[in-house]
Symmetry: C2
Subunit: 454 residues, 2 copies
């Protein structure tokens, strides 16, 4: 019986993360402070411990994974690489389709890959508490789990509307011992100010970030943790692509094209960056592996945005980062793939895209759910709405292979399961989901507010 | 780095199910019809296909698993055997604790192990549609998934109060293409009769069974499927224990004691029955492995029930089965481990218990949630409330080992994840969960209604 599941031994968990900066044609551009000068390590040190700061700035190709981190990773890693045989049959394609399944983590997504080392480095630095923000709760759950593993208190500021409407990820965080506050809260000055102006404020990710950062900056024993966008987050996620490389070598296959959902960029970076090194060496199949970031057509950062310095948050609180952006006050439509509703993108992903080393494609919401349901019925796994973006692109590619009679190897990152997203599937089946018009006017307006850098 | 996850290759998926009947000291007692005579195969054939009937009656030790079933199993099997190292450390016990994690299946529990072969045998018999019932939805999801794998229509009668209060498992069933009706429904005579008497009827598992059986019995192209209790269901689940035996052999360890939650008995049977054969041969450690069924103290079928012929359902619709029972009209308190709220038990489990080959213990609700949270914080996995019963017993045993300085090997069946049960954890954290008084009076009253067999 052919094995559909390509596994690795726990001893094969990678010993190093891969830093794509070492293989980029040009060095990354630094984040800028309010004075438009590069942010100093001292400023960043207010909210991040030294080891994480060092990784954020590093140009070393290989960065060792500490043993205590690998010991937690082995609770679920290596994650399986799975051949989607039944999906291939349904599509009648000569293509071979594989997916890396990150839904096997305790929190059900790829996010613990970075939450765990972030918790570890903070604990090593003597930090007692971590603050972070969460929207629907995937990142908050991952940080709650990781904090529990290293005995850290975790405080999560959860966007109030999600806190009220999505109680189950909140319960999950509490099961792992985290404190969860509806944001805006009375715990911080920024929360109190907002509530004084509007007691009914339903919150936003930007507000929750402000609260979490304010608390971390005000207490010496407390750090802040972020689940995407930054270089060290992308670094930690490269464990996905590195395992996949070993798994493809094990079965003697190699991807011609890789798809991953792309919001802040960490899941795309995680699976794709390790292949950038192979591509730099000319590729394995006599040609490079195509690396394709898949974003929602309602929030088309790479495909319709501008490459410019912009704030990471809506309120202009963070340093300026050089990235593809739709403008920091662009408010994406309320699609169900909440993890992809971000106006900007990882500076590393952005630069690679700008320099032509990776590709991007945008897909519409209804088409992603159609793909997710087709996948669930063929393969059993019900994917998260974010993952459905990669699945849509992979299916389209497999259909193209059928039309052209090409037996290409297609690989995508199935970033998480959809167990906490069934209400979105419900709305899809009820015909209540919609595609959004390409928000050209809103993007144009928002891009006018980009900060002017000298 | 020591491997915590003991895996098998997909080629090692067992080729046969193990039938414990072959190793029982006495043959099982037959089910009886309304005339108190053994039910004929023709009567059973109204709702089950021939291959399933043959398995239900078989005394053969090994029953081959068809290749198409093994091909679906490999979407998630072999499931991992995991060493709970961090839990051992938290408990400070010299015991070695292992668990078999069945939450990796698409439906998130052990139930697809039997849903898949049931769907296959029905498809082979030319059946087009399967009807079944579900309470909170675990079994309905498993049958929906399995039906989709073999192109069968699946109709699920879901207890109305769950249909309304627990929409997410319903969405999951629909994602796998099943039709789901709130029961009582207008689809069947029994449903219509009940609604005529009481339009507000909230439904019960007994009513849903009646509806599913009525529809299956009235249509030649339709079969009924049951997720626990019956012999063929226990048979299919033995894939769990058989894989575990191979996994223990691989690491050179062997369980001294096995715990599994026990409601209808299929998860206990699945993990424990294959060890009955080892015990019959004297055991591996020079003594038999203790096999312990763990039930809720609010529904203590084995520990407080009577061994007698009784109906399988509340309304007296099914054949009579010789089993431990609290009386078919005993209504268990509303604990959150819905899968364990059953007045009876598998006749095979019951007979093994009656003959002293297995043990049973009852645990209280609050203690099971306490154990589940402790487990989640140590190991990451958030267990289903049913699984928390086995975890409670395993932790108690590990503490005993600490007190006695004994390095025993403890093994339990972690039957499913708790992603759809977070509301129960919520209530636990809020202090709203309670333990129920041992319902002695209700059990006494219900046992008076046992059918009188000549």
């Amino acid at each position: 019986m052919e094995s559909l599941r390509i596994t690795l031994e726990q001893s094969e968990i990678p010993t190093h993360w891969y830093n794509v900066v070492a293989d980029m044609p040009n060095p990354p551009l630094p984040p800028l402070g309010p004075d438009h000068q590069p942010v100093s390590p001292e400023q960043m040190g207010m909210i991040f411990p030294p080891a994480i700061l060092a990784q954020e700035m590093s140009a070393e190709r290989w960065i060792p994974i500490p043993d205590p981190v690998r010991e937690i990773y082995r609770l679920w890693r290596p994650s399986p690489l799975i051949r989607a045989r039944r999906l291939e049959e349904v599509l009648g394609t000569p293509a071979r389709i594989y997916y890396k399944y990150e839904g096997v983590s305790p929190a059900g997504s790829h996010k613990p890959n970075t939450a765990v080392p972030q918790a570890y480095y903070n604990q090593q630095a003597g930090i007692k508490r971590i603050t972070t923000e969460t929207g629907a709760g995937q990142w908050g759950c991952s940080m709650a789990f990781a904090g529990q593993m290293f005995g850290l208190e975790v405080r999560v500021y959860m966007v109030k509307i999600s806190y009220q409407q999505k109680p189950f990820r909140r319960s999950m965080m509490q099961t792992w011992g985290a404190e969860v506050f509806a944001s805006p809260s009375k715990m911080t000055q920024s929360g109190r100010d907002l509530l004084a102006r509007d007691p009914e404020n339903q919150g936003s990710l930007g507000i929750a970030i402000s609260e979490a950062v304010e608390e971390a900056a005000s207490r010496a024993d407390t750090s802040y943790a972020l689940g995407s966008v930054l270089n060290h987050v992308a670094l930690h996620q490269t464990i996905i692509g590195q395992e996949a490389r070993k798994q493809f070598e094990k079965v003697g296959d190699w991807p011609d094209v890789i798809f991953a959902p792309c919001g802040g960029g960490s899941s795309f970076a995680g699976v794709a960056f390790p292949f950038v090194a192979d591509n730099a060496a000319g590729g394995r199949n006599g040609r490079p592996t195509r690396l394709v970031a898949v974003e929602p057509s309602s929030c088309p950062t790479l495909t319709k945005g501008t490459y410019a310095y912009d704030f990471g948050d809506a309120s202009g609180f963070t340093p300026l980062m050089k990235m593809y952006t739709l403008g920091h006050d662009f408010m994406p439509p309320g699609i169900h793939a909440g993890g992809l509703r971000y106006h900007g993108d990882s500076p590393l992903v952005s630069q690679l895209y700008h320099e032509g080393l990776i590709e991007a494609v945008a897909v519409a919401q209804l088409a992603t759910f159609e793909a997710g349901v087709m996948f669930a019925r063929a393969e059993g796994v019900i994917p998260a709405p974010e993952s459905n973006h990669a699945i849509r692109a992979a299916i389209d590619e497999a259909v193209l292979c059928r039309q052209n009679g090409e037996a290409r190897t297609i690989f995508f990152n199935l970033t998480g399961h959809g167990h906490f997203d069934m209400a979105a599937y419900d709305r899809y089946f009820a015909g209540d989901l919609e595609d959004f018009e390409y928000p050209a006017e809103a993007i144009r307006a928002s891009l006018e507010h980009l900060p002017k850098i000298r």
